[in-house]
Symmetry: C2
Subunit: 478 residues, 2 copies
């Protein structure tokens, strides 16, 4: 395939590709700016094979990511919210030839011993000497992103150009697109959800509105004033935007992509009331973004489901008697492997995700939990997400996290951390009445810890490891 | 990949996939009907590897084409306008195990000795015994279509599922699409332009409005009444539709795909005046439909061009001093080869199309002629299409075809067959004044034959071989 940045610039030179604050770039200007940056980096170090980058959701960082495509280097996209030591660890694992950082992140790379350069701190390049890469191959590694690493050492996921292409195609075949579409990019560029929008813009020719920080008011205004058509969010962002009258007034929105965590019943109800075109999606760093989607027409009927596999993707459940088992995924989206670990695969090439779920008779996937979150109580397997799904149907419960707690007799017992509306006290009788049809007694929580808020990371992902440190308002034994 | 018919039925069961006259089929109904047909064909002959089919643009024939996907057979799609002997020849070359024909085409297959069955003339199938193919592979041959064969033996072009997929993806990345799009299918299903719409409907989830015959009035009514968004035409069809007030009133049309022959200046001007979203395209049976497109925003600026390569496609010109040379094409659309001939390729895998052209500095392709149409006059190479393009700018000229005629002195001389508006006489002085800036003297026609109409095939393609048989109104020597 031809260099995507140059190809897009040739196909739609005058189309606006990037808007950041009051600045805009056409695809031709994007190509020129990224070529200049690539030439400057080439002058800094002409024989790069792998570069690590760290920066914010800024135009400079966006252009940096594009400029590295001209050099055909593997780009380690570092998560800027990690600590000094975590950054150092990921650089050590990925062994880049150079680290490029935006100046606000100088402290984050202080422990890194690899050669470093501040983004933009280079000579005006000599473009006559510089030839960008003309061809890219689908098997070539474009990016390396570390998985959040909730257990042990973080793993560096290799994503090829072919993976990114397959992801963009799977998405367009599901959602459709018009060349005039406007995507609001408010999720981090270092995360596959953000990076995949940069790729889509190159492949679709759409405009990206890049915002540095998630500011609900600003995003509400943008959505309404410039007729945003697509936005990608995590549930906590959606909850904030549902309070923005400007956002809700915008009529151009065709697709609100939701990932990172399941949608609670109340958020779904509010979204439906506001007539928002919510598409819930399931994806992983290993699958270069979404591989399943639940379209809004099925949202109510299939509540709790992650949807159906996108067209190029196959999803299977490991065979078990109950029909519930490990979720297996195959397709052109699938990473060729980790930098520093084996990728668990079946003999016929399905990725063993470690997540547990089942498929209903119409092929909709239901995720019931992470493999490693499995609770084993009295010899019975209990998937926390199943318990959580049942509890979120209780009207007074806003959020819930279910985990196993050591128990002398049962091995583990099920406990729930809950946040209620207005922090009202729990009514155990009402809860039991609601959940007993869905959950066998052994699956029902033995203890409820009432808390003010659940711990989540910057992407809205629940951090179960931090539950034990929370302040408890009240404890209820069942 | 999963069986496309079944996958689409699972993703959008209730979406209408096919409309034919007053009948409609949802994707679920399409899946059911095609499964029944596949099971019936399986009962007729359970070990099919290759099936030849012949039929019209009917719902039955459409469902037949889909049903054969369930059997994973290679489908030889025969051109129903061919003669008895031509059909027999193509069946002999392609060696199918079975020929399935719609009853009106009984005479066309009279000479065929392969086992034959009339579409629908089979037992109600036993579905319990029948298992459709679950998986298709991208390297698998889906269809075989014979190239028009203007010279010598027709060649059977193999098209894989991967070719069809790549074509649909290249198109969607250029044109965009919405799942609610409605495509009017008025070009023959046996031609790649028609068949590719069937594939797109499976991959995009769009509705196909299938019409049996090209009836401008009916199509005008349909376009206006059901809000057609896409239509694929050849120039002669466009000329007819430009006279239909209903067609021109329809406001939903987002894309009028034009292929088969270049657009004349007057048709382009009329289309622009009517504000029609014309996308000119270049494609071949060997590339599974369009590989280049000229979007309407560039139509005027790049008149005469076939546009730019679609995203997955690479186009190169064989190196020559003049920059004009054979057009070379590479990409996932490219057929793996012919049934009965070698496919001419460069060492690095580019298909040698036999067409001659050049790329301008913005990467737009200009086709100047078929390799075998090249006129050599006094040792100079002359590409007929270049002469034709210059002559179509003459206001009184409606259509023109340029060929070489034997000449004792020059070897060949350039002659033009022209149709004028209202059959008015030619004004050679005006013609010379118009063309002399564009064409060197040796390229200018030595003889003009005025005729009433140019010979074209059912797809609007000029049939230069039949020019010599035309009645000449007047002859002008220059």
């Amino acid at each position: 395939m031809e260099n995507w940045v140059l190809k897009r610039s040739r196909i739609s030179p005058d189309q606006v590709g990037l808007v950041y604050g009051h600045q805009t770039w056409t695809f031709k200007e994007i190509a020129e700016a990224s070529l200049r940056m690539a030439a400057a980096i080439y002058d800094v170090s002409p024989k790069l094979k792998r570069v690590a980058v760290i920066g914010g959701n800024t135009a400079d960082f966006y252009l940096l990511l594009l400029s590295l495509q001209h050099l055909a280097v593997e780009v380690v996209v570092l998560n800027s919210r990690l600590s000094l030591n975590e950054i150092e660890q990921q650089v050590t694992i990925s062994e880049p030839d150079l680290v490029i950082y935006e100046s606000p992140y100088e402290q984050k790379v202080a422990a890194v011993r690899t050669p470093k350069v501040v983004l933009g701190n280079w000579q005006e390049p000599d473009l006559t000497d510089f030839a960008p890469v003309g061809q890219i191959e689908s098997w070539q590694v474009a990016t390396i992103m570390f998985t959040s690493g909730t257990t042990g050492t973080p793993k560096g996921v290799k994503q090829t150009f072919g993976n990114h292409l397959a992801s963009a195609i799977g998405s367009v075949l599901n959602l459709g697109m018009l060349p005039s579409d406007k995507w609001l990019l408010a999720v981090p560029l270092y995360h596959i959800s953000g990076y995949s929008m940069l790729i889509k813009s190159l492949l679709y020719g759409n405009t990206v509105y890049l915002v540095e920080k998630f500011d609900p008011r600003l995003i509400g205004e943008l959505a309404a004033s410039v007729n945003i058509t697509h936005i990608s969010l995590v549930p906590t962002m959606l909850a904030a935007l549902l309070k923005e009258p400007d956002f809700l007034k915008g009529e151009s929105l065709r697709c609100l992509l939701l990932g990172g965590a399941p949608l609670s019943a109340s958020l779904l109800a509010q979204s439906e009331e506001a007539n928002l075109p919510v598409i819930q999606s399931f994806g992983m760093t290993e699958t270069a973004s979404q591989v399943l989607a639940l379209n809004s027409r099925d949202a109510k009927r299939k509540r709790g489901s992650s949807g159906q596999p996108l067209l190029p993707v196959e999803v299977r459940i490991e065979e078990t008697e109950s029909g519930i088992g490990e979720i297996l995924i195959k397709g052109p989206n699938l990473s060729p492997g980790y930098l520093n670990a084996e990728m668990a695969k079946t003999r016929d090439g399905f990725f063993k995700t470690g997540d547990i779920g089942y498929l209903d008779d119409e092929g909709f996937l239901y995720v019931v939990g992470r493999g490693k979150e499995l609770i084993i109580s009295g010899g019975e397997n209990i998937y926390p997400l199943m318990v959580e799904n049942a509890l979120t149907l209780v009207e007074s419960i806003k959020e819930v996290a279910v985990v196993g707690e050591e128990d002398d007799y049962w091995g583990e017992k099920v406990v729930a951390y809950v946040v209620t509306s207005d922090n009202q006290p729990l009514n155990l009788t009402a809860i039991s009445a609601q959940i007993e049809a869905d959950l066998g007694t052994f699956k029902q929580p033995k203890i409820y810890y009432q808390v003010v808020e659940l711990p989540r990371n910057s992407l809205g992902k629940l951090q179960k490891k931090r539950l034990a440190q929370l302040d408890i308002i009240a404890t209820y034994y069942h």
